[in-house]
Symmetry: D3
Subunit: 145 residues, 6 copies
């Protein structure tokens, strides 16, 4: 039995401590802002595509949007798998579905030039971000200042 | 309202057709074998690490295992977000958790040199693979022949 | 003189053992299926391109085909350089040319939207795969089951 | 003569407008927070390295720090080349040197396990970030809220 | 105070030695030719774009030019941050601006299909290369022979 | 029958022209110097490893050597598959084997800290480079000047 599993088995009523202990040993640095920033590029590419009638510029909008949507997915996946722990899921049972929908929206945003799909993606990330910063007890000063 | 959502709204009793229609327009090529092959490297690196006492070889085992575990995670994430659709989730409600556990195991396999963690990862992928090939109605000839 | 060269010099009549010894120390996990799967995407992108008249979708087919053909080349190159050893080449003297033609076909498949080029690439990989699995004495159960 | 150069030649006293016009046509989404977040990982890896005496864990700290420092450099380089324009440089003549020092610090942070180097890197990025957000007139609500 | 800073403070009249000492401990292998070669691809893509009226070929020219211009930027950034040291900057105070202009030209070359932008980029790299090889005392034989 | 094959069938006595024609349509920019430069890093990492007894520095030498050897392989593979054409192979029948040996040496250089393996790799690339520049009729001025 691995240590974290053992700790949870022994100590089911103190999920926050288990999370903290796990992070102290293994966890890195997580920010949903990384996904949000890439998703802003996704939406901007869709907006700029419609504002131009230049063939080359539009081809670049499609290609850069594809790349940025992939990065958005990656940052969301990392957050889902690496940051969130079982106690978080107990407190927020909708987490799996929020991430599934958000990463699917990033996939939809590859396929569509509709800026609304980019906006839906931004909104989905904001929903996840709100939960994330609740679990952390608020943003650090350097970010919000 | 986007097309797939519209189709599901109009046609709630034919989920399989919706999946098929969606794939005809958008879907690519998916194989859980991609994750399985990278996970074999993960386990092999842990095995080889213990079989050697050469400092350089062991450092390379750690580094290559890290890289291969990241690729394992990537292939699993793609499968979860891009291949599986709501009707699959209705038929297999454990899907979200299976992928969360499997990708977490790939993360654990970065952190551990215990070959058993690599084996757990292989087993988790095999469980997902079994469901995947059920949804496809079996492996293609080129793979199983 | 490096160890493998020395072993071959001392022991020219036991090439299979040399290969085995080499692999036990250094070799990783090799599967021609990795190239085959990417090449399926290459062919699928060409097929889907012709089935659509949407400008954005067609641009994405071109871009994704380019990326997948590059991955196909990479997996083939790794197989050629890392897996195959001199005794394999003695038994299959056409190996160099098979890989050269197959990787050139992957390059042709970047340049062409003709699905037949994708099919030629799949056929070339299948030819290599047949030789590969002969040298291994058959596929493992997890793959063929 | 390219358009932006022409506009500056005709209109040397309105640098802010030139910047705005340039961005409307070409510019993407820029956030110094991307560099800051990677640099936090750099410092965290140095901290964790010293807090552990496990050989594998320490090897991973070195490798992940290397990767994160490279990402820090990349995000800083993009900001320097792509976001900042000649009028910014006129207003902040120290910009070139700030970026040179900051990216060199990211290089130093690859070479050193001293958490102070990571802290120096964070401080350098904060100095750049302050200038950046001044040129933008403040952070957007989603970030600071 | 870090060692290199300390050495320069103690020994301000021997900048060449400081550079040499620094390189002996930390520095890798640097060649402006890496940037030049990628920039040749950038220009070739623009040339070939205009010589063709095939939709797919032209889309590939745009995409490959984007990728090669990014590699050009990367090689230039590495040279600027990692190779050049304060004594070089004292001898060539225009270095910061040369790199800023050259990397901005690589960005312009992403946005434009005008082969002249590619040529401007090649010229800018040649200017940097000239300074670089002066600081090294000439090209090695293997390169120029 | 694809165009190049057709041209060769019609015109078997003019292989050089066929190569030229092919390049005019499809070919990019090729330089064996790209492989050579990465291989210099490979050898430098092995040299520096032995000159240091710092644990962190040595771990970085191993990791950077791995990465640079992979880039060496990539540049060699691209040259083999994309640049060289059947008429080259007729004139230099040893080409396949030269590339196979050189890329295998790059693999050996990942596994070994012996600088001689790095030197063998450099020598193998120089042999390929000699043939390459013969087929081009000499280096361009910008490179050799």
């Amino acid at each position: 039995m691995r240590p974290a599993t053992l700790l949870r088995a022994l100590n089911p009523v103190r999920p926050v401590d288990v999370v903290a202990a796990h992070c102290d040993l293994f966890c890195g640095v997580y920010y949903p802002e990384q996904a949000r920033i890439e998703a802003e590029s996704v939406k901007a590419c869709a907006d700029k595509y419609h504002a131009s009638d230049d063939e080359v510029f539009r081809a670049r909008c499609i290609a850069i949007k594809e790349e940025r949507a992939e990065l958005t997915k990656h940052h969301l996946w990392v957050l889902w798998t690496d940051y969130f722990k079982p106690p978080h899921l107990e407190a927020h049972p909708q987490l799996h579905d929020l991430f599934w929908q958000a990463t699917k929206l990033a996939g939809d945003a590859k396929k569509s030039m509709d800026p609304q799909v980019g906006q839906d993606l931004l909104d989905a990330i904001d929903g996840i971000s709100k939960i994330f910063w609740e679990t952390k007890g608020g943003k650090p000063d350097w970010l919000s200042a």
